[in-house]
Symmetry: C2
Subunit: 281 residues, 2 copies
């Protein structure tokens, strides 16, 4: 029988999973145990600190329910979610539009609407036209591409967080026309804090970080024979562009408002052309 030491404990724990019948689970767990142990050894983690960590994770678990997912918030704020997204999109053509986080507020099953629809309904706020072209990496416009969009209201809340918004407010589904073009109306999005009244908010405060995301509109765009693109447009000039609490914003996805007009009235437009990568073969 081996006497366990700080040095040989990791090898002992890894031997223990040698019988694991799932090679990928074994690979992931091996790396997890190795990094977890290296972390504890490196910082000389104390029993008191370990207790704080257990208590923190317990609080994260207890505040999590059907409406609120604090573990995702934790993953987001530690940069893990953005990293998993970047890894998943490795190997995509450099010519295609960058991806960005799906986030926790996507809702499936929004009905398709005619181009030009105002997805903001009765929501107060400055109107904006959102428009652009969807094409493939060879710049061929994609007719009939499906565009799922969603965003927060100017109060910083999504419909699912806000009892004062009707269901599916600020959500829409559109199809590009024969020239690959789309357009719809909405309100200008605002920067907003992620939920910060729980343990993750406490963690951000202790770390000297703010909980804000820069203003953005989410897009999920799909077309036959193309890789589905989950991304977002970030509004130029937003003061949180460079410090997004969840590491979603990126330069290539920043778009500014341009003065435009519609039926004789001035209205700002947000324009962006999306380029879908070919389906992975």
């Amino acid at each position: 029988m081996r006497n366990l030491t700080e040095k040989n404990l990791t090898a002992t724990a890894l031997e223990r999973i040698s019988e694991c019948g799932d090679p990928r689970l074994k690979e992931v767990t091996t790396a997890l145990i190795r990094h977890l142990h290296d972390f504890a050894r490196e910082v000389r983690l104390t029993p008191d600190e370990w207790n704080v960590a257990i208590k923190f994770l317990t609080e994260v678990g207890h505040i999590t329910d059907d409406k609120r997912q604090e573990f995702i918030l934790l993953s987001d704020t530690l940069g893990l979610s953005a990293l998993v997204d970047l890894i998943a999109n490795e190997g995509k053509s450099a010519a295609s539009t960058d991806s960005s986080l799906l986030g926790p507020f996507y809702v499936d099953g929004v009905r398709e609407m005619p181009l030009g629809t105002d997805i903001a309904g009765e929501t107060a706020g400055e109107r904006v036209i959102v428009r652009g072209i969807v094409s493939s990496i060879n710049r061929k416009p994609l007719a009939g591409a499906l565009i799922d969009v969603w965003q927060a209201a100017p109060n910083g809340l999504y419909d699912v967080q806000d009892p004062n918004q009707p269901e599916k407010n600020l959500r829409g589904k559109f199809r590009t026309d024969a020239e690959g073009k789309f357009n719809f109306r909405s309100v200008k999005p605002a920067s907003y804090p992620i939920p910060f009244d729980g343990p993750v908010g406490k963690m951000l405060r202790a770390l000297g970080r703010h909980p804000y995301r820069p203003a953005h509109v989410h897009f999920m765009i799909s077309a036959p024979h193309h890789r589905t693109l989950t991304t977002a447009l970030y509004i130029d000039g937003d003061k949180y562009l460079d410090s997004d609490a969840v590491f979603g914003s990126r330069q290539s996805l920043v778009a500014g408002y341009r003065s435009s007009s519609e039926g004789g009235s001035a209205i700002d437009a947000l324009e962006f052309d999306f380029i879908l990568d070919a389906e992975a073969s």
Copy 2:
């Protein structure tokens, strides 16, 4: 504004905590983010796997309550708890008795009992005498050292898990005599599974691991001017000695039963001499 990539995301996340006012929190979080990101990059963690992890942690959080701590179970089974214990005991004299996990079943406030008391009360099971000497590393016996002991019943359950055991069953507190000696009676402990009907049990099954701990008796021993020793005795011959599900057992803490007698009747004895390190100065 920086375009986030798989390579620069970690540096970006670390810059974000540069304003943290607590140097130790900053140090620990820096190492945590670095190892978490290295882990994800190394295994090329997929969005589906990330989802499984979020769901798993959510289940661990939801089964955790005042009576059950699944996060501690997770830490125990990944070897983290044992590692933190080993790190905390670094620098202890090699002559002193090794430590072992406190575990989740310690209860404070057990009353002191006369030496020789049977802590098993009405519990069915084969009786055993537990005895030994407590000394300091210079082998000087320690009179009046306080010994807190606790163990599971032969059914594998501690009093706090088992409605059929009276409160504080199989728990005792003793003081060594003028020669540093202690002795008490109990029942022979049995190996038992950690709670395996939750997500951690599911994890162990998927990894091809069993949930058993070898039979043991817990000890917490304190004396003035000495480092408090939290440890356990593991019973020689137990089939789980070399595969303790929580990595607590170690060769130096294994003790065998010896034939003994008491008032003319044969009874097995479990003997161990504990050596306390001097208090850290």
